[in-house]
């Protein structure tokens, strides 16, 4: 369980050093994308349209923030992670298309994403769900926003972050998946769990 500091754009080599349960803090450029932004990004990729940012080596954050406009500037109020499993249907293609190195979210992702992370050289960093103030606290500023037509939560917010974390490496570039390990542990204990609740074995 080592602690690492990463600055975006992150190289593949740096990412491949990380292992499940390591703690990571990220500095540099991070962008938010939820369901609709993932879908649009992939559609644009297929039709050879340039994205509003250059995503290679960056971190994509599954997040629908609360923002407000102060004069000309956007102010980030709260920005915790959203449930990543909703993006499972897009993430493998997204990683391969854009070579994003870090996916930040909560709740974990599945086998398709883990396989793509192994192939591309990327990690999934779990940020504490709901910890929106802590997240916003590590965001220095909103540098830009694109796709605001998708609405505040779904837009692509481009953030400059400093020591953003702690992120727990929950999927590493060897394809290990901490959430799957936890689930396997639960299955091994299932009968014991029933017994504690006063239930007989099935």
């Amino acid at each position: 369980m080592a602690t690492y500091e990463l600055t975006t754009p992150v190289s593949e080599e740096e990412i491949r050093k990380l292992r499940v349960n390591d703690i990571v803090y990220i500095s540099g450029k991070v962008f938010t994308a939820r369901d609709e932004a993932h879908e649009r990004a992939l559609n644009w990729f297929e039709s050879n349209k340039q994205l509003p940012i250059q995503p290679k080596g960056l971190a994509v954050f599954h997040c629908g923030p609360i923002v407000r406009k102060k004069g000309e500037e956007w102010e980030l109020v709260a920005a915790g992670p959203t449930t990543s499993t909703r993006m499972e249907m897009f993430e493998d293609k997204f990683l391969e298309a854009f070579q994003v190195r870090v996916v930040i979210g909560k709740g974990g992702m599945g086998a398709r994403t883990a396989a793509a992370m192994k192939k591309v050289g990327a990690i999934y960093g779990a940020f504490t769900g709901g910890a929106a103030v802590l997240a916003a606290n590590n965001v220095r500023k909103i540098t830009d926003v694109a796709w605001l037509d998708l609405g505040m939560p779904e837009a692509l917010w481009i953030l400059e972050v400093e020591r953003f974390g702690p992120l727990i490496v929950a999927i590493d570039a060897t394809g290990e998946n901490l959430f799957e390990q936890v689930k396997e542990g639960v299955e091994q204990r299932r009968q014991e769990i029933y017994q504690i609740a006063g239930l007989s074995k099935t």
Partner: protein, 292 residues
């Protein structure tokens, strides 16, 4: 008491609910941090408590999902503004959305439109109890989507009974895993009917953490389920650990002889609720939080 005074109290409650945890939940999280043996779980609980501290100090929402606006209203039939309460709550939600701020979270399920003010058809939702007297007791209960998405209805048979209920709860919470942002608070409603058990389940989330049911048989089941669910090892944020639930609360209603309905409601660690009692003359007492 004027409608605008009551509106201000409701805005205060919304602000308290989303920016600071009730005392009982805060204490339970601190206790969980002390007892957690998994380093990753400990790290997550530390991040949660640090986040709560920052939210409280700066008076900003502890989670970006500030929920769907639900109120529990227990009101004496002699309370002067009884008939105006729905409009006052709607006004307060609109005002709070701007001033706190709250994330605009109401989406028309058919037209996909978001009015941007957290109100709309049937929202805010009000759970009413009309009582004798003239006091208004009100709880603001902004409910987040992540934990709501794992709530469940089990229309069990009487033969499955209480053991079936326990199995249903354990299996559902294992399936939910990391999704509802554990450590969670679990509410269970038994009996009534499909709608009634769900309503009871959610109402259990209002009970302070650490308080057992007054019926010893129910209290025993609550304890068994707390221990069983914490044995899963799902842990804080599903990353592994000893703390998967902070509490389990069970409520009940009489059932039909042919039915054994079980409702399961789940609350994330950001267990947002804030309560106050308001007298007919407008004296306000906040009961869930310390208010300066």
């Amino acid at each position: 008491m004027h409608a605008t005074d009551l509106e201000d109290v409701i805005v205060n409650l919304l602000c308290l609910a989303v920016t600071d945890l009730p005392l009982d939940v805060n204490m339970a999280l601190e206790e969980a941090l002390r007892s957690e043996s998994n380093p990753t779980g400990k790290n997550q609980l530390q991040a949660i408590l640090e986040n709560v501290r920052l939210a409280r100090e700066r008076s900003i929402p502890m989670c970006q999902d500030t929920g769907i606006q639900i109120f529990y209203v227990s009101v004496g039939s002699d309370f002067p503004l009884l008939g105006e309460i729905p409009q006052i709550l709607t006004n307060a939600v609109r005002k709070g959305t701007q001033s706190i701020p709250l994330r605009p979270n109401t989406v028309n399920p058919v037209l996909h439109e978001n009015p941007g003010d957290n109100t709309g058809i049937n929202v805010p939702w009000i759970n009413w109890k009309i009582t004798e007297g003239s006091d208004l007791r009100i709880t603001a209960f902004p409910k987040g989507g992540g934990s709501e998405n794992v709530c469940k209805l089990g229309m069990l048979t009487p033969g499955q009974g209480l053991n079936g209920m326990k199995r249903f709860v354990i299996d559902s919470m294992i399936e939910a895993g990391a999704k509802p942002c554990p450590p969670t608070i679990v509410g269970i409603g038994i009996g009534g009917g499909a709608d009634i058990c769900m309503k009871l389940a959610k109402e259990q989330l209002l009970r302070p953490v650490g308080y057992r049911h007054s019926n010893p048989k129910i209290a025993k089941m609550e304890n068994e389920l707390i221990q069983a669910l914490n044995k899963t090892g799902i842990g804080p944020m599903g990353l592994g650990g000893d703390t998967t639930v902070l509490d389990v609360h069970i409520g009940m209603a009489m059932r039909h002889p042919a039915s054994f309905p079980v409702g399961l409601a789940v609350q994330c660690w950001a267990a947002r609720r804030a309560s106050a009692t308001i007298t007919r003359k407008g004296k306000v007492e906040y009961t869930s939080h310390k208010v300066k």
